[in-house]
């Protein structure tokens, strides 16, 4: 439990353009430790684009993105996108073992525990292409348990999860926030946490004004 919330991410007058069209401009917000922000907006509003630019996977057209610095290095959030980022040819275990998470490779034991935790214990040695849609998502989500990072950035993490899986993920987010983690997520469903979530709505920038 971190007593004084510190700012993990500061976004200042951010604007993103895709194929010559502004998605949004002038977006400013701050993400503090222990906080959960849900980004909302209709399909194609620019939620995914926002998240990717925050993680450096897309260059913003204007504005500033400032991550908390730890030892003079900007912190590396754990980004899980639309795609589960699971290699179909590797087994569930290898998928976690051979992909660096938050900058480092992991030991076997925490990986096995994480797989057990997402209810894939029976599938440790199963190639990921034999998994159902929800099971594949769970492999991706196991990374949340393994990452040692102050911030999660999750793009529609509830996709394909069954009711029990959604509940599990919500409780993980709660626990992480309680321990001082910061979470930025998108979801078209309502997210039920004990504490209220801040929502951040993305509204289309109207060109007429420009």
């Amino acid at each position: 439990m971190s007593p004084v919330p510190i700012s993990v991410l500061k976004v200042d007058k951010l604007g993103i353009r895709r194929s010559e069209r502004w998605l949004f401009r002038d977006l400013s917000f701050e993400l503090k430790s222990g906080e959960v922000i849900q980004v909302v907006g209709h399909n194609g509003a620019g939620k995914t684009s926002l998240m990717r630019s925050l993680c450096g996977l897309l260059t913003q057209a204007e504005g500033k993105i400032n991550w908390l610095e730890i030892n003079d290095l900007p912190c590396l959030p754990l980004f899980l996108g639309h795609l589960p980022a699971v290699k179909p040819e590797l087994t569930v275990f290898e998928n976690l073992k051979f992909h660096p998470i938050a900058g480092r490779f992991l030991d076997d034991e925490p990986i096995e525990d994480a797989i057990e935790e997402v209810r894939l214990g029976d599938y440790l040695e199963t190639p990921a292409r034999y998994l159902s849609a929800g099971q594949t998502r769970r492999v991706g989500l196991a990374r949340l348990l393994l990452a040692d990072t102050p911030c999660w950035v999750l793009d529609e993490p509830f996709t394909s999860l069954d009711v029990e899986g959604c509940r599990w993920l919500e409780s993980q987010i709660e626990d992480f926030a309680a321990k001082g983690g910061a979470v930025l997520l998108t979801s078209h469903q309502a997210v039920n946490l004990k504490e209220t979530i801040r929502t951040l709505e993305i509204v289309r920038f109207e060109e007429a004004l420009c």
Partner: protein, 219 residues
């Protein structure tokens, strides 16, 4: 650092063994198609043998360059590695060494078998192995720069061949030339010396160029 990264690369390759033997199979197949296609006659075969084997090795190396950076680029591992390892040179060198170990070296080891099939004499076989041993690392080194430049592009494949092949040609000419001289009993020290010079030159230049190329691609 280099050792750890190299281990990671080799593990990755080991997990996709079938991709690993792909270039080797390609090499074998290409070479063994020639006796079928060229009117059989041992004298003709042994004369073109060195050229065929060298061209096949070059194509196999080129086709396998894709596996060097493309996958890691697309799942974001490449940028993570470059940012987190603190030593981009190690990353690049690990990639090049593992590419050579998994592509070049098997080709070298396999070549005598194919040479026998092409009815080359023992002199030529020795020269073939020697030239491939010096030449295949150069192929991996030069390929790394080309792949680094094209990894972010959609039309990667075509562009890669256009960039890389002209740089491969000198190696091909010297390598195949040395082997065919050896087959005719002539000495081929000059060619080997040139190839050695190429190897040293690219060893010293390529890592810098590769890192620069990848950094450009990641932007």
């Amino acid at each position: 650092m280099l050792a750890r990264l190299l281990k990671r690369e080799l593990l990755r390759h080991w997990r996709c063994r079938q991709d690993l033997i792909n270039p080797l199979i390609f090499f074998l197949i290409t070479v063994s198609l020639f006796p079928l296609a060229v009117a059989p006659g041992s004298e003709l075969l042994s004369r073109i043998g060195s050229g065929v084997i060298w061209v096949a090795a070059l194509l196999a190396a080129m086709l396998s360059l894709e596996s060097m950076y493309r996958d890691d680029y697309h799942d974001g591992t490449l940028e993570l590695l470059l940012l987190q390892s603190g030593s981009p040179f190690s990353v690049v060198m690990a990639k090049i060494i593992s590419h050579w170990l998994t592509t070049g070296l098997p080709l070298v080891i396999m070549s005598p078998l194919l040479a026998v099939m092409m009815q080359m004499n023992s002199n030529a076989i020795g020269a073939l192995m020697l030239t491939l041993l010096i030449g295949t690392p150069v192929l991996s080194l030069i390929g790394s720069v080309g792949m680094g430049l094209t990894v972010g592009l959609r039309q990667g494949g075509v562009l890669l061949s256009l960039l890389v092949l002209p740089l491969y040609i000198p190696i091909l000419i010297f390598g195949a030339g040395a082997v065919s001289r050896a087959g005719m009993g002539m000495e081929y020290g000059g060619q080997i010396a040139f190839m050695g010079a190429f190897l040293l030159g690219s060893l010293s230049l390529v890592p810098i160029a590769s890192v620069a190329a990848i950094k450009v691609s990641l932007k």
